[in-house]
Symmetry: C2
Amino acid sequence: MEYLSVSNAQKCILESVKFSDVEIVGLEKSLNRVLVRDVRANRDLPPYDVSAMDGYALRSADLAKVPVTLEVIEDIKAGDMPTKIVQVGQCARIMTGAPVPQGADAVIRVEDTQAVSENNVRIKFAVKAGNDIRSKGEGMCNGEVVLTAGTEITPGVTGILATVKCAQVQVYCRPRVAILSTGNELEDMDDPVDPNKIPNSNSYALMAQVQALGIEPALLGIARDDPAELTEYLQRGLKFDVLLVSGGTSVGVHDYVRPAIEALGVQMKFWRVDMKPGHPLAFGITTKTAVFGLPGNPVSSMVCFEQFVAPALRHMMGHTRLYRRTIVARLTHNIKHQPGRTEFVRVTLAKEEGGYAATSTGPQGSGMLLSMAKADGLMVVPAEKTGLNASEQVVVQLLDGTVFQNAADFKE
Amino acid sequence: MEYLSVSNAQKCILESVKFSDVEIVGLEKSLNRVLVRDVRANRDLPPYDVSAMDGYALRSADLAKVPVTLEVIEDIKAGDMPTKIVQVGQCARIMTGAPVPQGADAVIRVEDTQAVSENNVRIKFAVKAGNDIRSKGEGMCNGEVVLTAGTEITPGVTGILATVKCAQVQVYCRPRVAILSTGNELEDMDDPVDPNKIPNSNSYALMAQVQALGIEPALLGIARDDPAELTEYLQRGLKFDVLLVSGGTSVGVHDYVRPAIEALGVQMKFWRVDMKPGHPLAFGITTKTAVFGLPGNPVSSMVCFEQFVAPALRHMMGHTRLYRRTIVARLTHNIKHQPGRTEFVRVTLAKEEGGYAATSTGPQGSGMLLSMAKADGLMVVPAEKTGLNASEQVVVQLLDGTVFQNAADFKE
């Protein structure tokens, strides 16, 4: 049986899964979704030259000598239109966003002025023509494409959609995902504690990983090691767009999962990936469903999800950014590696001068789920390395929980 | 009036806001929330020495000379208990997670063996005592604290909570957040396009920023520049834990917001921060509500949210990671900076050998919301700098949309 590299397995998966259907959702439900179509501006913004500051609109030529006192001829609020033309020696009090009156070619902010009387203001500094004026159309021009198809809706994008009054947005659907755990050894959440059994953590960890991508999965429960029961559960799972089956895909003689999956007409693409943890990772498709056979070990399952399932789900939702963000960090200690498989080592990250230091969470056994709970990232050890040395620059995939950090950490 | 530095303003805010109440939620609703109490293991995991592989449990001393053929005395599946003791020259077929039988001190994976007959297997390689055995309690020991109070519930943490059967989790509540925009110049989503007005993007961009933190905010709409109307809206907002008021906090003579807020008994802590964009950032509290006066400019509003509101909301929800993740990047071009205020420059990031390159999104006018939609991060320019040079190492805060990247970007 061929063992695929991580990248070849990713490639095979992405070539096999399809874009989701599209749907229209309200702007308030659209965060993190992906635009199906280009979005165009429906107006010029600003609609005319406007002030960028609260201050005074004036003629820059009047400031040849400063300080100078100008006559205030008008108050212009945002939402007002000016009614007067600014002549030599005059100015208009103006608010941020208000239209610059005819005659004026610059704005000076109120902090750089001093009110002398109701109708006179002292200008302390000279400014150039155009100062603190936002030109007509500088933000967007009517008709121009402001957001392209394939754009992920971040808060900044939401702001643009609101600006062009896109109250309803066409986005890719979220795939419907089912999660199935398998194995006689598993004890579910509601079962009493039995020391001879293993708690079913995979269903829930996978649930959370799917939720982190914005999808609410269906938990199908635990299928026991009985071909008929397993087939029934799998049939239920094959009604979804994506089925995650945890456990039962290794080469042991007691694995019912492989024959049961194949008997249901799932076309298996591969059964093994050259990685650690996560060796027994299977993938297949039907005309409707992408099926991932994830390892039964909790850590392996989570690592495989990050490398293969998350990119597939994001691809289906129209994203172009499919892979975990990586950074380069300094390894704080030597680690050994048996050449052959790409290894993902759970690490914590610490800030240091110029970047990050990465430190292993400790023993990397694939049953060590606590290490996954503590990890900031997955350090990638290339397959052919015999180890990595302290101070080497390493690549770390950032995991959930790293979007924010303890300190602001910048010089202000 | 004193202008606070960014860090002093952050400090003032964090000292003023309170932890939220606590509530109990189902595990399936707990992602990204924060644990109020320590969580302890309720069992040993594994409950006994178990196999880490599908293979054969054997006596390592029997492998002094390999290959060697051993007698297979039993099949042990995960969930089974062994019934026989492995004697010299014997082994047991064993599945991942199944208990290691008495007599055996190592496991060899099935790939390193060859079945000779139903009851005999040829072992191709020697392994040491302990090989591929996960020891009792290696994952967790009954009674030990596995998760400490204050832990954010990431998928790995969800796995641990499921492992210890924590179906209900005590977490900090999400604060109730209201968003109010102000100004006669604003045109709301349902209004017809009026070239003399400015579309209300702030309410929606802020909505998305709040949603990105896992909170569903209430949109109060637009209060016009009328003291009575504004007071009514503010009173509605002061029923929430956090009120975000966008616009109307600058020093212009037409700003009704400041007196209206103060008249309602909000104790204002500050009105200005030495930053750009975002100068007019106000903050005050009542016994119930934290009130943020955000600038009316869309970009300023969003930047201020990231620096001040997000840390406050995360603090209230019990998080210790409050600030946007920062990385160090190489600036690709010179930029000028007028000394005085800390500046946040919208940048895009590109991968390059050893790290990231940061490039300004272009003109940084605070009306340029498109630049915020395109930005991967905010580059921080320290207040006293006169500029930054191409190739300088700069600090960049990563914004939403950067959790994933286009390529896997590691050597495998």
